[in-house]
C-alpha cells in the first residue's frame, strides 16, 4: 500500500457551541477526512498575512462521524492560537489542520477491560470522545469518568454528561471540584488526591485500562497516585497539555 504521509488539509468552520464562558466546541467540515479513533488529536496551523505560522494540537471531542469533526477549545488568556479559534473564527472561515494524529492515547470499543478516565479541566475533551464512542457503539464494558474542574461553571458537556450517566448502563461520571463545590456536594473543594482516588477507582485487581489527560501536574500526580494504589504503570496512558 502506498501510504501518503500526513499532510495539511483545509477545513471550514460549520458550527460552534459554547461549552463554558471560556470554551467553545468547533464543528469543522473536512473534505476527505479519513476517519479517526477516540482519543486522537489534530494539529491546527494558523498563518498570518506576513507568513508567520504557528500550530497547536487539539483533541477530537467526538467519535468518527465522517467529514465532520469536533474540537473543544479552552481559551488560554495570553495564548496565540486559542483566543482566535474560540472567539474570532466565524462560520465559513477556513482552518488548516492535519490528522488524525496519535496511536497511543486511543480507545476502541470492543475490548474486555474496564475503562477508567481521569480528566483535569480541558483534558476531558479526548475522554469525552471515548464516552461518546462507548455510547454510540452500545459497548457494555464498565467506564468511569472522574472529571476534575475548578468550579461547577467550568464543566464541559455538562448536560450531556448528566444524560449519559443517567441513561448509559455501566457508565459512571464523578465530578470533583478543586476551587468551589456546588452546595450539598458533600465534598469540600480540593485537589484530587490519592485518598480521593482510593475511594473512587476500581481496585487494582481488576483489569483496567486507564487514560489520564490534563495539565502536566495533574497527570503526573494522578498517575503516581494510581501506581501507589497498585495500578500497573504500563496500563496507564497519559496525555499532558503542559
Amino acid at each position: 500500500m502506498v501510504q501518503s504521509r500526513l499532510g495539511w488539509r483545509r477545513a471550514e468552520l460549520v458550527d460552534r457551541r459554547d461549552e463554558t464562558p471560556s470554551a467553545v466546541t468547533l464543528v469543522l467540515g473536512v473534505p476527505g477526512w479519513p476517519g479517526h479513533l477516540a482519543g486522537q488529536h489534530v494539529d491546527v496551523r494558523l498563518t498570518a498575512d506576513d507568513g508567520y505560522s504557528t500550530q497547536r494540537s487539539y483533541s477530537l471531542a467526538a467519535p468518527d462521524h465522517g467529514a465532520r469533526i469536533e474540537l473543544t477549545v479552552q481559551v488560554v488568556d495570553d495564548g496565540e492560537v486559542s483566543p482566535f479559534l474560540a472567539r474570532d473564527l466565524a462560520v465559513g472561515d477556513p482552518v488548516e489542520l492535519r490528522g488524525p494524529v496519535g496511536g497511543w492515547f486511543v480507545w476502541q470499543p470492543g475490548g474486555p477491560q474496564r475503562v477508567l478516565l481521569l480528566a483535569g479541566g480541558s483534558g476531558v475533551v479526548p475522554l469525552m470522545a471515548m464516552v461518546r464512542a462507548r455510547h454510540e457503539s452500545g459497548a457494555a464494558v464498565p467506564m468511569h469518568l472522574v472529571y476534575s474542574v475548578r468550579t461547577p461553571g467550568d464543566v464541559f458537556y455538562a448536560a450531556e454528561l448528566q444524560q449519559r450517566a443517567d441513561q448509559d448502563d455501566g457508565l459512571r461520571v464523578t465530578l470533583v471540584h478543586t476551587r468551589r463545590a456546588p452546595a450539598g456536594s458533600g465534598r469540600a473543594a480540593h485537589r484530587l488526591g490519592a485518598a480521593d482516588l482510593a475511594a473512587l477507582v476500581w481496585p487494582a485487581t481488576e483489569a483496567v485500562v486507564t487514560f489520564v489527560c490534563g495539565p502536566t501536574a495533574f497527570v503526573d500526580a494522578v498517575s503516581d497516585a494510581l501506581v501507589g494504589l497498585g495500578y500497573d504503570a504500563s496500563a496507564i496512558r497519559t496525555e499532558r497539555y503542559g
Binding site: S57, G103, F105
Partner: protein, 90 residues
C-alpha cells in the same frame, strides 16, 4: 523525582503529527530506549518542550535529551542521538 520536575512540559503525544508528516506512520506508540539510562518507553511518554517549530524530547527517567525534531523549510530534521533503539510494530 518530585512531581513538579517536568511542570509545563508537554509529552510525546505532540510529536505524533510532525513524525507522521516525515514517516507516514504513527510513532507515538513505538518504543524508544534511552541511550543514557536504558529506560524503554513509548514515544508518547517522552517529556517534550517547545510547542513551536522545534521540539525536544527528554527521557522521563533520567531527563537526558533523546530526540530533537525541527522543521526546516521542506524538511523534518530528526536528531536521535539520545535514542539507542526505536522499535516500530509492523
Amino acid at each position: 523525582m518530585d512531581e513538579t520536575r517536568f511542570a509545563g512540559a508537554l509529552d510525546g503525544n505532540v510529536l505524533g503529527g510532525p513524525l507522521a508528516e516525515a514517516f507516514g506512520v504513527d510513532l507515538t506508540a513505538s518504543y524508544v530506549t534511552c541511550a543514557g539510562c536504558s529506560r524503554a518507553a513509548v514515544v508518547a511518554d517522552l517529556v517534550v518542550y517547545g510547542a513551536g517549530p522545534g521540539l525536544v524530547g527528554r527521557c522521563r527517567g533520567c531527563g537526558d535529551v533523546m530526540l530533537r525534531l525541527t522543521r526546516i523549510r521542506d524538511e523534518v530534521v530528526v536528531d536521535l542521538r539520545g535514542c539507542r533503539a526505536l522499535r516500530v510494530a509492523v
